[in-house]
């Protein structure tokens, strides 16, 4: 579904991503992990065309660079970790924006498939009962679900998540990841997500990429990638042992 080859991203003279290649297929939940500053988010930003890059990123064989913003939005949805809103929009207003890429012209009436997409997205995220509430009244988890609903309303095939639950309580983390894995069950969809929390990556990821200093350190299925030796190599510490010791305290 997504093929990245020889990706190079530079901030000034510094290469943040240096010759990175990988591909993601349908049905995969592709985790990108690595220490801070390794360039995890930069990869997603390149895919969503938020940073200039060299190399090629193809979606279903088409170079993403050549797609118009609207077309891109119909295929690829993005959920970021921080979502601040300027004005007191209602939840429904925000979700409705997800349909922007589908309208034919400025004054066209909303079509019935727009309405059903919005209703489905609200349902899938459990936000229906909050649809007329101002976003200013939502909790952090509700706000993130509201944006998830927006992304769902976009009806993308590929979902990009950039640490979407970073600032959320465990309950909300579980909720969001649960919602996304439900979404992924429909055939023809894929998720690429950047996560900090290796246990989440291990638990939900089907495939994974470990990067260090902008280069590929390991790639494959989640089981293949998240091995004690790989992690030790990338994080320069005994990650496995550390996690084990953390968990032991719960026993």
């Amino acid at each position: 579904m997504l093929e990245i080859s020889s990706l190079i991203v530079s901030y000034g003279k510094r290469k943040v991503i240096d010759d990175l290649s990988f591909s993601v297929s349908e049905g995969q939940w592709f985790m990108i992990a690595g220490p801070n500053g390794a360039g995890k988010s930069t990869v997603l930003n390149a895919v969503s065309q938020a940073v200039p890059y060299l190399g090629s990123i193809r979606f279903k064989g088409r170079e993403i660079k050549t797609m118009k913003a609207g077309e891109r939005a119909r295929h690829i949805g993005v959920l970021l970790q921080n979502n601040q809103i300027g004005y007191a929009f209602s939840v429904e207003d925000v979700v409705r924006l997800g349909r922007y890429a589908y309208r034919s012209w400025a004054f066209s009436k909303e079509k019935s498939d727009d309405e059903s997409a919005i209703a489905d997205a609200l349902d899938a995220t459990g936000m229906t009962y909050l649809r007329n509430k101002s976003v200013f009244t939502l909790s952090g988890g509700e706000l993130q679900r509201c944006f998830l609903a927006q992304v769902f309303a976009q009806q993308p095939e590929l979902l990009l998540l950039d640490e979407p639950t970073n600032h959320l309580d465990l309950v909300f983390q579980k909720q969001i990841f649960g919602l996304i894995s439900e979404w992924l069950k429909v055939p023809g969809r894929a998720v690429i997500s950047v996560v900090h929390d290796l246990s989440l990556a291990r638990a939900y990821g089907t495939h994974a990429l470990l990067i260090k200093d902008g280069r590929r350190a390991a790639i494959g299925t989640a089981e293949e990638v998240f091995t004690a030796s790989n992690l030790e190599n990338v994080y320069s510490m005994d990650v496995n042992g550390w996690m084990q010791s953390l968990l032991k305290q719960w026993e």
Binding site: S48, A50, K68, A69, G70, E71, R72, A73, R74, G77, V78, L80, N83, Q84, I85, G86, Y87, A88, F89, S90, D93, V94, L97, G98, Y100, A101, R103, A106, F107, E115, R131, N132, S134, F136, T137, F147, Q150, V151, Q154
Partner: protein, 348 residues
């Protein structure tokens, strides 16, 4: 069900605001420095439309060529400034954004002042010099601000634009001071001009304003969804497929045309563009589909009432309209600011 109720609510708002606008328009037509009975007012307008002579020649001279075009110009200017303000506030996701924060007003003023100081005029249209110069300078300052902003920050982020807008405003006012120093014999005209006067508005002015407003409002209202996306956040707009640069440029250029035309006809009138969208947002919410049209009507009402005060309070003297809008606007603004601080977050 849900959306039907919303539609009905929307219809009510439009009905009310249009009625209020028409009522205020008629009120402003009836009240003025010279007292003329309402019956005569409509009689002379009727006569004028049908090309008949009027019995009451004073009413005819006062209402048709003086008061009517003025009230029209005031209403259109108010609508244009409020529309421009609402669009800017949405685009930049900043409640303090306005044509003036962007530096477009200052640029337009500078153009007009240069036109006055150096006597820029066109042989056939003696007073068109200021208007053409104001529009040109509004555009030029916009290009300059955008050019600088692109240089600093490719995505044209809000902070960059407002920072450059503020710097540009200061720059423009310094240049204005220099121009005034060099053209000391025009200082009176310039001082009068900077205070803004809609006296002497003509039907031609009204026509120019109306055409600018018509074109720009269609453009801006057709960008309601994009403005909503920007108002949520610029990042979000990019994610849902808005062509950020194109939309920004379109909105900014449209706004600068509106402001250039208004500044050249009525001088710089503060607070309409800033305060009106705030008040409207409290009623309609932030959705630009409703916010933009309702702001237009409310801006017209606000400015017509301000002008009514300016025309009648010290009769036979006139107050500059900018003074009235600033005083009224400041109080309204403070009121709204504190109310929204204390209120909207919890009950909106």
């Amino acid at each position: 069900m849900e959306s039907k109720r919303r539609d009905r609510f929307q219809t009510w708002i439009y009905l009310i605001i249009v009625t209020v606008t028409i009522a205020v328009f008629l009120l402003c037509l009836c009240l003025g420095s010279v007292n003329i009975p309402a019956r005569d007012i409509f009689r002379v307008i009727w006569d004028a439309v049908n090309g008949l002579p009027s019995e009451n020649s004073l009413a005819r001279s006062v209402i048709v060529p003086v008061r009517l075009p003025r009230v029209l110009c005031v209403a259109l200017t108010g609508a244009a400034l409020a529309l421009a303000g609402a669009a800017m506030q949405g685009l930049l996701r900043n409640t303090l954004a306005d044509g003036s924060t962007l530096g477009v007003s200052s640029g337009a003023s500078l153009g007009a002042v240069i036109a006055i100081a150096f006597g820029v005029s066109f042989p056939s249209l003696p007073f068109a010099g200021t208007m053409v110069m104001a529009i040109i300078f509004a555009m030029v300052s916009l290009l300059l601000i955008l050019g600088l902003a692109y240089r600093l920050d490719n995505s044209l982020s809000t902070n960059t634009i407002i920072l450059i807008g503020v710097i540009f405003s200061m720059f423009a006012s310094s240049i204005m001071t220099i121009v005034i120093t060099f053209a000391s014999d025009h200082i009176k005209s310039i001082t009068f001009w900077t205070m803004g006067s809609l006296q002497g508005s003509s039907f031609l002015n009204a026509l120019i304003l109306a055409s600018a407003l018509l074109i720009c409002s269609v453009i801006l209202i057709s960008h309601s969804s994009e403005l909503n996306a920007f108002a949520v956040s610029e990042e979000n707009a990019g994610r849902i497929g808005v062509n950020i640069r194109r939309v920004k440029l379109t909105v900014l250029i449209t706004v600068s045309v509106l402001i250039g035309v208004c500044v050249s006809i009525g001088g710089s009138i503060a607070f309409v563009g800033l305060v009106t969208p705030h008040m409207v947002r409290m009623i309609t919410g932030p959705n630009h589909k409703k916010l933009l049209p309702v702001s237009m009507f409310s801006g017209a009402v606000f400015l017509m009432l301000a002008d009514l005060i300016a025309r009648t309070l010290l009769n036979p003297r006139e107050l500059p309209i900018g003074v009235v809008t600033s005083i009224v606007g400041a109080f309204v603004f403070i009121f709204i600011y504190y109310r929204s601080r204390g209120g909207t977050r919890s009950n909106a």
